[in-house]
Amino acid sequence: MRSKVKHPWRRRYIVVAALVVVGLAGAAYSAAAAPGTSKAVTLTVDVFGNFGYTDLYKQYEQSHPGVTIKEDTEDYAPHHTSLAQHLATGAGADDIVAIEVGFIAQFAAQSQNFVDLSAYGAKAMKGKYLPWKYEQAVSRNGAVVGLGTDVGSLAICYRKDLFAKAGLPTNRTAVSNLWPTWQKFLAVGKRFQAKAPKNVKFIDSGSNLYNAIIAQQNPAYYDKAGNVIVSTSPKVKTAWNLTMQAIGSGTDAGLSAFSNDWNTGFKKGTFATVTCPAWMMGYIQGQAPKTAGKWDIAAVPGGGGNWGGSFLAIPKQSSHAAEAADLLKFLTSASSQALVFKQTGNLSSQTAVLKSKAVQGFKNAFFSNAPVGQIFATSALRLTPQILGPHQGDFQTAASNAIQRVEQHKQSPAKSWTQFLKDVANAG
């Protein structure tokens, strides 16, 4: 059906292959459609990471005979890059595509490339969503480019066993009470580090700490008018300073998030806390299944915040827009979102689901039976949304690099900050 750009280094061949495949697929399709006998449709869904849709596809295929669903999965960054390419070239995109919040502002700005979902009753969904979540995927001219899947409300995942060894409380309420603010969180870090087991640090990575703090700030990178305000925003500087403090106090393992060493760190228990958006639960379980029962979840310091979460959209180039819209509505429906949360931890973005008993009462055995539903839903319901902008993702990359330069002793915090601002200016 489509040639998928999974590995960027294969792009050159893919372009050629894509031309051939598109041609063949077109031919095959007109041949198949000509008799007009069957309504058989293959719908393709392009996601990144794990959206937890496998069971939902089966359900949908059973209730809709003739529909076959195929999912493509890629890594986060290549996924969005190839989507941009497919939109620009007018070919190659799946019928349904996932867009992460870091990219939604950019894609919503090119609404001409997407099916306006209000033609398929999306406006009726407005009241069901967290209001900011719905608005994020609405373009300036009012087109509904995507519908929300999950939100990444925040908590702190921590290792009970390591806390106990360092003489800290392990009960999640007591732990939550230790850190109402990030300052207090850093103080707990110092306490932990003083008695920590050998080779264990309090936090995994400076950039993960920063991401959680920045997610709670509004406005952060962009103001309401859409101007980049990174260099003047006191909130960005606050998040930066807190991160620098954590690094300076020696409580940071300095790992690069999503690296090999970070993944192994989960298995070996080389850090005691991770700032935890809802989707991180699934990641930890996937990386270190043997640490089940050693983890627990406490409230996040500071206010509520959102880190991650996605949308589903239909590119205009899809030849099955109507069928795709139906599937999209099913995948983003309340019942689907509730199921996905139970299976993967990806938290629903619909108010009723967040308040439902199914979510509120849900406990996760891996995280010591923590009432994860209640913790994350509460956090999601009270969080303040952030104003997003098109180059959000680049700023985040630049910030991660800046923090790492300090962690790797390559630059002083002040010099690294200067270079960060330069990178931000270049990205615009």
């Binding site: 280094w9 960054a77 290549p78 390419q85 998030a257 991660s400």
Partner: protein
Amino acid sequence: MSLELKPAAGSVRAAAPRRPGGLRRRLRRLDTKLSPYLYIAPFFVVFGLFGLFPLGYTAWVSLTDRNLLNPVVHFVGLQNYTALLHDSYFWNAVENTFGIWVISTVPQLLLALALAHLLNTKLRARTFFRMGILLPQVTSLVAVALIFTQLFSHDYGLFNYVLGQFGIDKVNWEAGRLSSWVALSTMVIWRWTGYNALIYLAAMQAIPEELYEAAAVDGARRWRQFIHVTVPMLRPTIIFTVIVSTIGGLQLFTEAYLFQPRPGIATGGSGRQYQTIVMYLYEKAFGSTQFKFGYAAAIAWCLVLLIAVFSLVNYLVVSRIRSAE
């Protein structure tokens, strides 16, 4: 064929003025003149479509502000190039690329020469060894990059483990400038040494035995024979390998791209310590939210120029090897 054609062509030339109206002759003349071009046309058509056209199109794009997300394109002249010349990240990438090229190519070619020399002696199971050194070449580039990245990882990598056994502190290979260059060069050397060795070997086998005998009569020992007979005779081959590895080395991408701890970001480390030119091109075109195709196209053309100039420099340097004549 040429033997048959020559008299025919001669007679046509001689006969044509006398019988200007001969259609058959004219067709035949056309045939002899045009057919060869037709026979070689397929290559040039394909090359034109997939080689020349993209090259020219890239040159055009480099003169515009083309952006993947923006359908409106403006002609901006040489603006991308002037911006590029003042872009410190571009020069950083150039420096990285050349640095990695030097520490990967020099040892690689010397090692290849030595290996070829060994393989040219009377070894047991010679074919086995000759095939063996080519094995790294047939492994997938991605597999090489992923496995070496694991080996070089800071906390649980094999190299740091071995260093630890000798009481040496862990090296954060990825974080340091020189250390990351060394790591990347290791991948390149591992993959390409055998290939170059085989080329040298083939050339060595073409060196007439008499030259060595004559050298031996003159009293040259093995080392002097190697320096004064083998290396000069290999001169064209050495030039070839140097040029080829220059072209390949300046286009280094996959190894460095996959060496990054965070997937999908093309900055080449937190301080861009190992971002190569092609990685920077990729970052501008695809690896960020910018999609600046015009700028990336300008980088591509600067890379072409760099490769051309640097190949020429290398050619001149290597040509100083005393020729065999």
